[in-house]
């Protein structure tokens, strides 16, 4: 079950997988995600559905290796099978003709931006995309984003590609340019989403972010993915993963996402040790 039919390396530590999952491929909408267990003893991890082919019956996920589970996933090959894939989970993005949408993708966040940008474009929106990466090698899915964007701006921290700077610098320039921006979508590291939201709040521009806190069941049963939105508690897995970027308590989210860093460190060290031993 859940066979990997294609694997592509997009950047160091970042891989794209097409997985056979016909029912999920048919039913999913932009913004939704799946929860994957790589092997029988693995943990449950959420990954956004970056693309899908309902006719051929596969979904695309993009994974950045940060810890044991994502390293293990990225070590899998085409024709391997995943132990468990469940979805489509989460609320689909609300797609509407807003006018001009600025889609900001940071690092591996570009993968979840893509299906939403595509859906917004198909609905008649003008899409201006801002893609950011630390360096040229780490920029992913530029070709996918070019297909759905009317205008594309690329930034790299070190200036090795596109403009030197952060996505927030490019966004500020765009705002200064004077175009009417009806919606900003930002997906990427939490700190990036926080600063994009702080910037757009100054100009009262509607902003949507997609959060990826730690999850276990993904159906609203356990509460580990709870986030504070204004005064309210929401579960990212069933109320989100998208939320109004101006209401998210980002500092609390960052704290909760780092809760397990000690355990994660041990698990990754052991995995890499074992993996290196196998290669010897």
């Amino acid at each position: 079950m859940y066979k990997i039919i294609r694997k592509k390396k997009l950047a160091p530590l970042v891989c794209l997988f097409d997985i056979l999952a016909p029912d999920i491929a048919k039913k999913h909408k932009a913004g939704q995600f799946v929860i994957i267990i790589v092997n029988e003893k693995g943990e449950r991890i959420p990954l956004t559905i970056a693309d899908a082919n309902p006719i051929e019956g596969w979904i695309t996920i993009v994974c950045q290796a940060v810890g044991k589970s994502t390293y293990t996933l990225n070590d899998m090959k085409a024709s391997d099978e995943l132990f468990s894939v469940v979805g489509p989970l989460g609320q689909p993005t609300h797609i509407e003709k807003y006018g001009t949408c600025v889609c900001v993708g940071g690092g591996v966040g570009i993968a979840p931006v893509y299906p939403i940008a595509e859906a917004m474009k198909n609905c008649g929106n003008k899409i201006i995309s801002i893609l950011g990466a630390r360096t040229k090698d780490l920029l992913i899915m530029e070709d996918y984003m070019r297909k759905v964007s009317d205008e594309i701006i690329i930034t790299t921290d070190d200036g090795s590609y596109g403009k030197k700077g952060l996505v927030t610098d490019a966004l500020q320039e765009l705002i200064n340019r004077g175009d009417k921006i009806d919606l900003v979508l930002a997906i990427g590291p939490v700190i990036m989403m926080k600063y994009v939201s702080l910037l757009t709040k100054k100009y009262n521009i509607k902003t949507m972010v997609s959060l990826n806190p730690i999850m276990v069941d993904g159906t609203g049963m356990c509460g580990v993915c709870r986030v504070t939105l204004g005064e309210e508690r929401k579960f990212a897995c069933v109320d989100g993963p998208e939320f109004d970027g101006h209401l998210v308590n980002y500092d609390e989210l960052m704290m909760r996402m780092s809760m397990y860093k000690n355990k994660e460190k041990i698990a990754l060290e052991n995995y890499l040790k074992q993996r290196n031993q196998k290669c010897l």
Binding site: D23, K27, I37, V216, D217, T219, M221, K263
Partner: protein, 462 residues
């Protein structure tokens, strides 16, 4: 001369000192000799009261008689005529409020240990490879969908199979069982036994599709295109939090999250399995139901040095099985009754470090019939903890009901049904905790049985 009734044959158990270091079963089960000794305590009443105490009306005297005759596998089969999961019920049913409460001996003596005997024959049948699959009628061409593979769904599937239907169970998680696998710990219900019981149902013809979240991958209307009826028993899978300051601090878990990590994802074997729980030294468990006892006892086994159970009412009102409260106390869990937290205090890194609590006293009964807890002004004190497990109840998870607005629900999101388990949507039935709120495994099983009967009745009447 007066009849001398011996006390219940004691259940051998792991000692508290040994068992807090492992996740193995605590009650070890009767030997054959013990079972015989216990079975003959039954005085075989002319009008047995015990049967009416059982939510699924097992023919208790009949199965006990078969034990006395040494026919253990037959005894298990007798039970399975009405209860397809005896190895589970024998372990987790609150017999002391059900069959054993009605046992005539309980008036002056100890009741017959009906639960222990049920467990004995179920285990005997399985361990000696004597499980037989009963004759299943030819398929009548109709398929019924069941949403949820917990005790309600499993039972409904088994009963429908024996009536000639094909039942498909859709389960959201990657393994079947519902609370039986994610909620109840290994030391109360070994998962190997759950797998065997689920396997039996699959051999009866029930199909289980895991990783299938109905309401997401398919709607009920889409299911009804392929299946003639749907039974919803998705459980009370919504965590309840206190809603007090600091609740999003690291180290505060809902009982659902904690138990799912430990039981379903096997966090107690972290290193071999990948899902962790945070290190814990001083744990506060909020609540006093079976879930609170389970969470408390798991945290001890995970290395907690001190586990404190904090409950706003008194021991008398505690909803947990007396047996489980007893097990928890033996293991060294300290109970703080008439205590309620008012806020959580966290350290600079966002991790909880203490809980401010208030002492309570009991006033007049509230709408639940239990005496209302009233805060004692000025009684605030600080309890230092590094972990809080919130086990104060579970609500109706709205995922499926929000996706199916023509199923009527009450104010709290529980599905409304008539006396025969019909919902407001034609051909859709519901039972278990998603209807009643948190209740027991056996009550969910009872609703699974009644749903199967109603579905059969309704299909035959068209």
């Amino acid at each position: 001369m007066a009849i001398e009734i011996k006390p219940k044959v004691a259940m051998p158990e792991q000692s508290p000192e040994a068992r807090i270091k492992n996740f193995n079963e605590v009650p070890l089960g009767y030997t054959e000799k013990m079972a015989q000794e216990e079975a003959v305590r039954c005085i075989m009443c002319k009008k047995p009261q015990c049967i009416s105490g059982c939510p699924v009306e097992i023919d208790i005297p009949a199965f006990i008689q078969l034990i006395i005759e040494g026919k253990y596998a037959e005894s298990a089969r007798k039970i399975k005529e009405t209860n397809t999961l005896p190895a589970i019920c024998g372990r987790v049913c609150p017999q002391e409020t059900q069959c054993e409460l009605k046992c005539v001996l309980s008036k002056k003596f100890q009741p017959v240990a009906i639960g222990r005997l049920e467990r004995f024959v179920a285990d005997y049948e399985r361990e000696h490879n004597l499980v037989e699959i009963p004759k299943i009628p030819k398929w009548n061409g109709k398929k019924v969908a069941i949403i949820g593979s917990g005790p309600g769904g499993l039972t409904c599937a088994g009963d429908l199979a024996l009536m000639g239907y094909k039942a498909t169970i859709f389960e959201a998680l990657h393994q079947p069982g519902g609370v039986l696998i994610y909620g109840i710990p290994e030391f109360r219900l070994p998962k190997e036994i759950l797998r065997a019981e689920v396997g039996y149902l699959q051999k009866l013809g029930a199909e289980i599709k895991t990783n299938y979240v109905i309401g997401k991958i398919k709607t009920i209307d889409e299911i009804l295109k392929e299946y003639v009826a749907v039974f919803i028993c998705t459980g009370a899978g919504l965590p309840v939090f206190m809603g007090i300051e600091g609740e999003n601090s690291a180290g505060i878990y809902s009982a659902n999250e904690f138990l799912t990590r430990v039981n379903l994802m096997r966090a107690y074997r972290f290193g071999e399995y990948d899902t962790p729980v945070l290190d814990m030294k001083r744990v506060a468990v909020l609540g006093a139901g079976n879930t609170a006892m389970d969470a408390a006892r798991c945290s001890l086994r995970l290395g907690a040095e001190e586990v404190l159970l904090v409950y706003r009412r008194s021991r008398t009102e505690a909803p947990a099985r007396i047996e489980e409260i007893h097990h928890a106390e033996e293991e060294g869990i300290k109970f703080h009754f008439l205590t309620n937290p008012t806020r959580y205090i966290s350290a600079g890194n966002g991790h909880i470090k203490a809980m401010e609590c208030l002492r309570m006293e009991l006033g007049e009964p509230d709408s639940s019939g239990r005496r209302r807890p009233i805060p004692i002004q000025g009684s605030e004190f600080i309890m230092e903890v590094d972990t809080v497990l919130v086990a104060i109840g579970a609500g109706a998870n709205p995922l499926l009901t929000k996706a199916t607005p023509d199923i009527a629900v009450d104010k709290k999101g529980y599905i409304i049904i008539d006396e025969e388990l019909r919902t407001s949507k034609k051909w859709v039935y519901a039972g278990g905790d998603i209807v009643t709120g948190s209740a027991t495994v056996i009550e969910a099983m009872g609703s699974g049985k009644r749903a199967a009967r109603t579905i059969d009745k309704d299909l035959k009447s068209i």
